[in-house]
């Protein structure tokens, strides 16, 4: 029988209407010894305001370096059932869709070998199974992998890619975010399981600028769906919105960041060449406005959380790229980016940090992407810059040409 702990502090978190994680731990603790000791140790943390977990470095399954996070209790004598309490990251099905059969299968395996506690899901997207012993790792992996499931990423490796719901149930999705994510997950299996990168590398795919998986803020490689071409307007539907309480002037036209819209009370007009495709109008008047026909993605690079020298949002690198099966262009581009990073990065240096320290030019040249104004908010302000190789020579050649033609080219 699992040990029963007195948990006066945690019991306070069973009060109130929001679903309680304490109730969840107690459900498992009723039959599972590990969950019971997890509850006991957590109550102690609540009492002392200190955490009692240790990181366990080498823990994993044979051949892999990713997918298992070693965790040991600092208090194994007091809470022996959580002396080992390792995490198993199971790569989620893209988009977090499940059949109930698949979910029950997961529960069966986890009840047999683990604590009966999960996170649905971890921050990166994996299904997280919380707490098992070292000797159970190989059996857990055999049970899952034989049924068609694999571990997610951890450590200095490709991390489990994730995607928004995309075209499965969203009219705004410009690209098939689920398929792209799934294909990239399959493409980088080796890099996910065998941590050989300088540090972590995350890929996230969002179908539009709403960015429901926070790709722009949370992925080294952010793939965000967009389009070229005019927004399609259904004027009858515009009238429907106006009649049904939408204040088109104030809520739509005046909030357009580029002021490329106008409305005379009857007809909505868009100056498409000045539209920056932010999604505000489309998301508020979906029945009336549809994105242009030529779909693709913007590839942004570099975002990360604050450690070490401050957080970064991803930078626009490739303003527009077609992303259609079999995505060979995307696979090659990502591989090229990783190759550059792997070549030059120090240990624990993210790709965004390396671009800062080594220079955007080195990165762009390596991946074969030209400099374009879409990549920046504004050009540099101070008069210090590098000239490389034959930069000056090329300018001189151009000037010589100008002398011949009598026409300046800036």
């Amino acid at each position: 029988m699992p040990k029963k702990y007195d948990t006066p502090l945690l019991n306070e978190l069973e009060k109130g209407p929001w679903p309680s994680f304490v109730t969840e731990i107690k459900k498992a603790a009723a039959w599972n010894k590990m969950a019971a000791d997890e509850l006991g140790q957590l109550e102690k943390s609540y009492r002392t305001r200190l955490v009692y977990w240790k990181h366990g470095g080498i823990v994993g399954v044979r051949g892999y370096g990713g997918g298992i996070i070693g965790r040991y209790s600092e208090l194994p004598d007091e809470f022996p059932e959580v002396a080992h309490f390792h995490t198993v990251r199971i790569n989620q099905p893209t988009g977090w869709f499940y059949s109930t059969d698949a979910l029950r299968m997961t529960c069966d395996i986890w009840d047999k070998y683990g604590s009966g506690l999960t996170n649905m899901h971890g921050s990166t997207g994996d299904m997280v199974l919380l707490g098992t012993r070292t000797e159970s790792l190989e059996p857990i992996f055999a049970e899952f992998s034989s049924r068609g499931w694999d571990l997610g990423g951890s450590g200095s490796a490709m991390r489990t890619p994730s995607a928004c719901i995309g075209q499965a149930r969203c009219e705004w999705a410009n690209i098939d975010s689920l398929d792209i994510c799934n294909e990239m997950t399959q493409e980088f299996q080796d890099e996910m399981h065998r941590p050989a990168f300088p540090y972590k590398f995350k890929i996230k795919v969002s179908g539009c600028a709403c960015d429901c998986v926070a790709a722009i803020a949370r992925a080294d490689c952010s793939i965000i769906g967009t389009w070229k071409g005019d927004i399609k307007i259904d004027q009858d539907a515009v009238k429907w919105y106006a009649k049904n309480g939408t204040d088109i002037q104030n809520w739509i036209v005046d909030m357009c960041p580029t002021k490329c819209m106008s409305y005379d009370g009857k007809e909505l007009k868009i100056d498409n060449k000045n539209c920056n495709r932010c999604m505000h109008c489309i998301s508020k008047m979906t029945k009336a406005l549809k994105a242009g026909d030529e779909k693709g993605a913007t590839i942004c690079i570099g975002s990360k959380a604050p450690i070490v020298v401050g957080s970064l949002l991803s930078w626009v690198i490739v303003p527009f790229i077609k992303v259609e099966p079999p995505y060979d262009n995307l696979r090659a581009l990502i591989r090229k980016m990783i190759e550059w990073w792997d070549e030059y990065a120090k240990p624990r240096e993210r790709i965004g940090e390396l671009i800062e320290s080594k220079g955007m030019r080195s990165f762009l040249e390596y991946i074969g992407v030209p400099p374009v104004p879409q990549q920046i908010k504004e050009p540099r302000k101070d008069p210090f810059w590098f000239f490389h190789g034959d930069d000056i020579e090329n300018i001189k050649k151009l000037e010589a040409e100008e002398k011949k033609t009598g026409k300046y080219k800036f």
Binding site: G57, G60, G63, G65, I69, T134, E135, P195, F197, Y199
Partner: protein, 81 residues
Amino acid sequence: MEVEEIKKKIFEVLEKAKGKKKLKEKDVCRIVSEETGVDKEEVKRILRSIIDEGKLCYSYSGGASSVEIPSEEYLKEKGML
């Protein structure tokens, strides 16, 4: 060079670095390749085969991944000894 010799070299390199510097997979391949003249990709293939057998492991400590010789205690816990 025989595969067994390269394997021995890999263990030597890791043994020497133990407690001093955590070596990434790439570091092991580079060092062994430099010292033996065997191509890095070939070293990597052999290193991976040792890792697949479980005689070497990837480790994640100090915020970065490295390759390590597992302790006997760990191998016992895993049921591999």
